[in-house]
């Protein structure tokens, strides 16, 4: 594998991994495949775009590029607001749709179909507000850096670093804090978790906040490295699920590792076979995992 394929795969895989953590958390705790998760990625990217643009109007100096990066202070500041608003969007979806269905004892398939519906509504709403024309956080072209035989833009390298830090922080949060313990307990046995004193409703809200926050971050990264489109979330959905299942449902490091493997597989395919086969790779990996090791790399049997 050439160093460039490795670098492209890592950058792509970091975005997939971040998104897959949300998928894996939602699946293991709420016990359904949330097909609207991709829309949280797209909404996160667009909310950050809107907030960043608004900040740029208020204070034009905030849009001046930061060092080697393509964006100014307006984007990192907007990212915090976008994470909060994307989390609020996920909580709203739960309050209006998924929560009432859970309360009625809705089967998993009903929640899955509801998430399909929610995804359609959210995507079309996004297209209605922002149009389907691609958007960018910055207009200027960024020159890629050359090092160790590979090329990568400073934005892409920053995304890789941020993804690594966020995944480690999320893993430590889940394994070493009271809230993380509660999440793992609800994931394994919600009834027993209640007996032990864990408020499942509160834990579920935290899962939405964490999952949507990470999705927003993945969306901002995808927007920085590629572009922002209303369909960016749904395009990432298959790789996200493949990564979550490959890593093992419920495993945060597994989701990241799964994301990196899918990312590497995609970048290898693009280089060696052709870009049109990119989506097929994630699907092929998903099918192979389900046949060979359905519990994934780190999942429970």
């Amino acid at each position: 594998m050439s160093p460039q394929i490795l670098m492209d795969g890592l950058i792509n895989g970091a975005m997939i991994g971040l998104g897959a953590i949300g998928i894996t958390l939602t699946y293991s705790i709420l016990r359904f495949s949330n097909f609207a998760h991709g829309e949280f990625i797209a909404w996160g990217a667009y909310i950050a775009l809107a907030l960043s643009g608004f900040l740029g109007v208020l204070a034009p100096s905030l849009t001046a590029p930061l060092g080697p990066f393509s964006f100014g202070w307006s984007l990192p500041i907007a990212a915090f607001g976008a994470i909060a608003l994307t989390a609020a969007l996920a909580l709203l979806a739960d309050a209006l749709l998924f929560g009432p269905l859970r309360a009625r004892g809705g089967a998993s398939i009903i929640l899955v179909m509801a998430s399909f519906g929610a995804a359609l509504v959210l995507r079309n709403l996004l297209e209605f507000i922002f149009t389907s024309r691609p958007a960018y956080y910055a207009d200027g072209l960024q020159i890629a850096l050359r090092f160790l035989g590979v090329r990568a833009t400073p934005d892409a390298l920053l995304c890789l670093l941020v993804a690594a830090i966020v995944v480690v922080a999320t893993h430590l949060f889940i394994t070493h804090t009271a809230v993380g313990r509660a999440m793992r307990a609800v994931s394994e046995n919600p009834e027993l978790a209640g007996i032990v004193g864990v408020d499942s409703r509160k834990t579920i809200r935290l899962v939405w906040i964490l999952g949507a926050g990470l999705a927003c971050l993945a969306g901002i990264m995808a927007g920085l490295v590629v572009q922002i489109r209303p369909t960016m979330g749904v395009d990432l959905l298959l790789p996200l699920f493949a990564a979550a299942i490959l890593g093992g449902i419920g495993s945060t490091p597994g989701a990241l590792l799964g994301g990196l493997i899918i990312g590497l597989a995609e970048s290898t395919t693009v280089r060696l076979i052709g870009a049109e086969w990119r989506a097929a790779v994630a699907f092929a990996v998903l099918v192979v995992i389900l046949l060979v090791r359905p519990r994934g790399l780190f999942g429970r049997s």
Partner: protein
């Protein structure tokens, strides 16, 4: 059974009707009164509603009629996670530990309900009480034997220093030696001031450690009395245990 002898600091149920489906109640109008410090065993044939009754009290099975009062407060509608905060701990019969969590994390999960400054001390106290657990804190609970799991489940329930501990057949599936160990631990826990309600199929051992027994048949509390008397009463044994077993 009358609920007139209600202890203000104990548990009482009035006309409790409970079950997974409203039209098919398993517990049918149970009146129960357990005073502070008592060790009560719930006996009865399979299907009598013992487990459903304690699960309803713990907040895991819907209550359709009647009420549950604990330490003078009405907790009928309180969700399970609030009952432990009020001092009512429940240990289910199966799946009573988090198999993927370590022993330490199982205990910490319960200790998270306590103020931060006392958590480590309380876990250390429980380790002292259950040395088997202290020897392997990083071991996943799923790798423990049946007896060790029961010990861990009991230790986790005791972390918050509950005033009432309800256990659903803690000796099920255990070897006679381990079952004896469990009963002896429960007796010691009760001696430390914790009220215990025990659901058991192991009638002889349960009556040997309990102070009072209540017999459930077909979802109703049909008889109660001092455990020692009940153990020696052949008519009661025949009427409520042997006869009921014969029917099922």
């Amino acid at each position: 059974m009358s609920a007139e002898t209600v202890a203000p600091s104990g548990l009482e149920t009035h006309g409790l009707v409970a079950g997974y489906e409203r039209d098919l109640p398993i517990v049918r109008g149970v009146n129960l009164s357990v005073g502070a410090g008592e060790f009560v065993v719930l006996l009865g044939p399979n299907g009598a509603g013992k487990s459903t009754l304690v699960k309803a009290i713990a907040g895991l099975v819907p209550i359709h009629h009647g009420s549950v009062r604990f330490n003078g407060e009405d907790i009928t509608a309180a969700p399970a996670h609030e009952k432990i905060r009020r001092g009512l701990a429940f240990v289910p019969q199966t799946e009573n530990v988090f198999a993927t969590l370590t022993i330490e994390d199982n205990l910490r999960l319960a200790a998270d309900l306590l103020p931060k400054r006392v958590r480590a001390r309380r876990i250390a106290e429980l380790y002292a009480m259950f040395p088997d657990l202290a020897a392997q804190p990083r071991r996943p609970a799923g790798q423990l034997s049946g007896g060790q799991r029961q010990m861990l489940a009991a230790a986790r329930a005791l972390i918050v220093q509950p005033s009432l501990l309800i256990l659903d057949e803690p000796s099920a599936g255990l070897s006679p030696k381990m079952a004896t160990e469990v009963f002896s631990r429960l007796k010691a826990i009760n001696a430390s001031g914790v009220t215990i309600i025990l659901v058991e199929q192991n009638v002889k051992s349960a009556l040997a450690v309990a102070s009072r027994a209540i017999i459930l048949v077909e979802g109703e509390a049909r008889h109660e009395g001092p455990a020692a008397t009940l153990a020696d009463d052949p008519i009661i044994a025949e009427l409520y245990l042997g006869a009921a077993r014969a029917r099922t």
